[in-house]
Assembly symmetry: D2
Homo-oligomer: 386 residues x 4
Amino acid sequence: MPDASPAKWHLAHTTWFFETFVLTEAAPGYRPFDPRFGYLFNSYYNSVGAQYPRPRRGVLTRPDLDEVRRYRARVDEQMEALLTAASKEDFESWWSVVEIGLHHEQQHQELLLTDIKHLFSCNPLEPAFHEPHDEPVSEPLPLNWHPYEGGVYWMGHDGSGFAYDCETPRHEVFQHPFEIASRLVTNGEFLAFIEDRGYERPELWLSEGWTVVNERAWKAPLYWRREDGRWRVFTLGGMKDVHPAEPVSHVSFFEADAYARWRGALLPRESAWEIAAADLPVEGNFVESERYHPAAAPADGSAGRPLQMFGDLWEWTASPFLPYPGYEPPAGALGEYNGKFMCNQFVLRGGSCASPRAHLRASYRNFFPPDARWQFTGIRLARMRS
Amino acid sequence: MPDASPAKWHLAHTTWFFETFVLTEAAPGYRPFDPRFGYLFNSYYNSVGAQYPRPRRGVLTRPDLDEVRRYRARVDEQMEALLTAASKEDFESWWSVVEIGLHHEQQHQELLLTDIKHLFSCNPLEPAFHEPHDEPVSEPLPLNWHPYEGGVYWMGHDGSGFAYDCETPRHEVFQHPFEIASRLVTNGEFLAFIEDRGYERPELWLSEGWTVVNERAWKAPLYWRREDGRWRVFTLGGMKDVHPAEPVSHVSFFEADAYARWRGALLPRESAWEIAAADLPVEGNFVESERYHPAAAPADGSAGRPLQMFGDLWEWTASPFLPYPGYEPPAGALGEYNGKFMCNQFVLRGGSCASPRAHLRASYRNFFPPDARWQFTGIRLARMRS
Amino acid sequence: MPDASPAKWHLAHTTWFFETFVLTEAAPGYRPFDPRFGYLFNSYYNSVGAQYPRPRRGVLTRPDLDEVRRYRARVDEQMEALLTAASKEDFESWWSVVEIGLHHEQQHQELLLTDIKHLFSCNPLEPAFHEPHDEPVSEPLPLNWHPYEGGVYWMGHDGSGFAYDCETPRHEVFQHPFEIASRLVTNGEFLAFIEDRGYERPELWLSEGWTVVNERAWKAPLYWRREDGRWRVFTLGGMKDVHPAEPVSHVSFFEADAYARWRGALLPRESAWEIAAADLPVEGNFVESERYHPAAAPADGSAGRPLQMFGDLWEWTASPFLPYPGYEPPAGALGEYNGKFMCNQFVLRGGSCASPRAHLRASYRNFFPPDARWQFTGIRLARMRS
Amino acid sequence: MPDASPAKWHLAHTTWFFETFVLTEAAPGYRPFDPRFGYLFNSYYNSVGAQYPRPRRGVLTRPDLDEVRRYRARVDEQMEALLTAASKEDFESWWSVVEIGLHHEQQHQELLLTDIKHLFSCNPLEPAFHEPHDEPVSEPLPLNWHPYEGGVYWMGHDGSGFAYDCETPRHEVFQHPFEIASRLVTNGEFLAFIEDRGYERPELWLSEGWTVVNERAWKAPLYWRREDGRWRVFTLGGMKDVHPAEPVSHVSFFEADAYARWRGALLPRESAWEIAAADLPVEGNFVESERYHPAAAPADGSAGRPLQMFGDLWEWTASPFLPYPGYEPPAGALGEYNGKFMCNQFVLRGGSCASPRAHLRASYRNFFPPDARWQFTGIRLARMRS
């Protein structure tokens, strides 16, 4: 699986980020822990130098885990020394990069979980990452629709607190009247799509999605397996039955889009999603719950607002990942962080059960190619209001 | 080249369109010219049946050209008989499909030229399709900027005359203030990008574009060849020198985007392009000129409006090809005409020197994947107004 | 199909051979018909220069057929003039190359037929190359075994008449006692292998063959098609029923080898085949019969010798194509004719219904990779004598 | 590198061999250590069941090394118990398989070293497997030729002691008079080939080899690297200078063959090699030396016989791996051990510095595809005697 990396690599890469973008910049004459790590643990920053090929990260048996831990300890120590001794001015000039480094590490905490999940799923021994919770079985809630007015709205980061460059500038958009679903699409609902031969009907799919479905012989979401006539699913807690009330997860944009078409609905544009999320608290099933799995929508009322907007699963939007009007990537290597990926990827919103809660906000834009399935991704429906 | 088709196939496919979507529908008991042609000449309509694989169209030595001509003559004859004898009601109900069939044939007239150009370019004999015009050599015009106000605009087809489904519904958008370039980017300007090592600097490229540039070893636009220290270009009139005043053509979206970034400008969003084009006459260098090559912008003044907006070259926009708000594909097989391609493609506007003039309008949306270069595609720059 | 070439290309290539290896060598200052043809029509002679890529030969719409015919006429004329006017010495020095050129053209006459057969087979219209003969239906003959003694034998060309370099030098081999089958394996016999699930049982296959069978989903010989519960076969005379008494054709070495294993027999080594063929007349179903299809073994007695050794189908041997002891390729470009292919190919013997009779002899070695099926190839069984 | 496996996998696979082919067969009701290991650690035995895909062995983070060691300990224990308690008859019936299992494990001991070498070579940190010996630098010996008579010889295993099926039956061959080189080709000699542009001259290469050389951009043996104008080589002891007196290693058959052609010599057929080796003691630089690297030929005389025939490097022969006349694979799954690989592979003889000494003998046939380079492979020249 060329998109995933070993856990050890994630550990070293996030440390490399601080070493490269803070220590090396801040301390003239800084001597790196091992100069060869600059090649091994650079992910995609062309400005900083060449990169060891991503699909071959798995063959790096050296440095071993102990060495990587020493690397982390040393860099942590040096970062602490640097920031402690810094003048107020220096501190402020470094802080913006340190802050990105911290958020960057949060992203890799999530990737660490999704990559382990994928790795374990390839192993016929079906190892479990943790002891699964024993959740009470709930009934699926009915799906309702929340209406929003059309007109000119502001979207994008409003300037207080941290945000990535791609969330800016805040700008006006014209939004058509819409409704958004009260919760995520469930396994039970998605099963009806499968049983209606959803994976076999070309008229439901984008042309490129139809090609992918056939070439990869997709018949169900990633991690679903048919065993003895029933659907089972691989989770970080091992194999379990597919529960109808839980949100369907590990679907690609293509599947989300085909499902919406089958149901006579749409995926929300990211502007619609952000309008609906703007006033909601950032609460939900995040990594801190240690569930590592999406949960059924709570039955105890939505108080008139959509449920599960944050946490549980990243929600595919209908919007390609594009620059906002007036967007400028930062100067230097960190300009490669987001801007160069603004092509053939779709925006996801809201975070997942593998995201740290503090990492999320209403303006947050995640993005993946439309065929990606190994992240915790799900489906939120929308529709036009006439 | 898997995207291109033989001339004979285009001739048969456009006839198949009328046979399948008009004759077969209108005349109960209609017997097709050859029932096997339904498989051979169906391009991508899954609703109508399976399709002979596109990359293998080149091996169809049968039916031969004479047989295809007989096929065309027979279907033309039957179409004429049908429409002549039709009641007013029948005529009207069939007309909407006939009209699509005619516009469909115009599209294939353009593809016929671009596919022949590509085929001939692969032949070391460098055959010419026509005797090239002996054009007077002109000096490049300076590039100016035309400003437009921001605000809410209407875009999409306004309802009079023919338009494809994807140009509708007409709807409001919020457009930020912008400027648009007075003409297309010239070969001379693009050469400066090449000489500034534009194809070798990753910071100018989208990540996916950078991969493509390296995998395919792109060093210049398609059809440019370096011979004895100077740049030559393959055209439908054979090889000739690259002329600095002519618009640069046969560039991908990736190259257009990188060029704009290098120059500190942008590609226009399709809304901006349509706003700028809305009041312009549909005039320019179309296929009727029989030049089959873009021409330098005329020196005799622009009268305060951008030149070359129609004809010469399709202009890459910054906009992925997406459904307009409220878009509904038509019912039935013709619903596959445009809607299913709304993923990982970019919109091009304005038509080219290979397009029939009558085929174009301000709301017309063409689309190709970002790495496509074999169409007559060029670069129109834009920029934000502060 | 990357191994096949258009008919027009074969016509031009065989002419190019004479132009390059005779006219250009013999006549100082010779001006080629078109210097660019040297690139287009060179098949694989690195010593002579670069080659237009084989898989792209199909896109060469120019030169057209008329031009190729003019090319052939001009070169024929010049060859005739050269040889007529030549001194005895010159004539003799050129003759060895002219002779290779003539045998080379015979090989391409066969390839022309096999390539047309493959091309037509890809066309859903199933065009026929000729009106098929109306053959009387015969009963299959029983398969008998002809025994041969072991010991030291001589093999290879004996020096009289033309032979390719790879048939020399004549040399001694130690041959173990063996028996050879009285005729080719029939369709009926091969059908029993299919029905015994021969294509699904890994224990019958070489490891590399098993991979090929699965990757390409082979279920029967090339050109066999299952229609309405019976086996049909595509021939140069169009589709027809698989006849049980006709020899099974268009099988790969892998299929021949698996079939032999299934039947408890072997394929003959080429030494065994040559020993058995050494005293037989070169008679059989060759291209001159204009049948273009293998025929059932004649019932009128074998007079104590194996039937069908020449003509009908090339017979896969168990021998990789290797140099004979002391083999030296000729100096110069013609050294590339055979020698460089002595790796990962297997020897076939005896010629086929598409071979000119005059092209064959007992020492003749044809060779193809073990997965090749588009030639007229069949199965002759052998076994050890204890 | 799809041909290599992790060390852990080799450890488990060799244990699986005993569990599957001895314990499961011998003890009715035997309960395997973990039934899923049968899938994970089966290499290529179709008769025993499906196999986990070889290229994905690297993703098996479970079972971990401790678990594999427990597996080995348990199976060793059970094997010991079985053999200790066995009746003489049972012991004998099991012994032939146990013996194969032991030789099988020796083969994997060698693969373990070659796979680790390859894995480490992919790591930019260039880790070393062991502390390299500090060898005295010697001068290369001159290369002499040892002559042998032609005639009928016997080859193949003579029946005393263990041998693999493919070494039998012992049989007669006709061998032409030949000479064999007194030692392996050295780095210095191979460097002359490189400097004479050996990798750039198509006339020296087999056609398939020439394709491989160009597609993979080979410029030197595997593990050679050009650094600051001199050749360095990666070894299990880390990087070091290429020493001219050491044998050239990690070359493919294609390189060995091209080198021989360049030098006007041949590779020996396996019959010639075996004739030359038949009376030599099995002595040399084997894995027991713990050098893990080939050594320069000793200067202290060859006493009239070729040096380095055993140990140092596997020697490519000119012979494809084929069944000997009358060869029969064993019944059952062990029939898959060798027989099914008799296609498109070449025989190597003599063992290497990574082979256990007890594993070798004069009749031993190793085999690899002609493009394989990651084994310890070298070049022994031969030539015809006139």
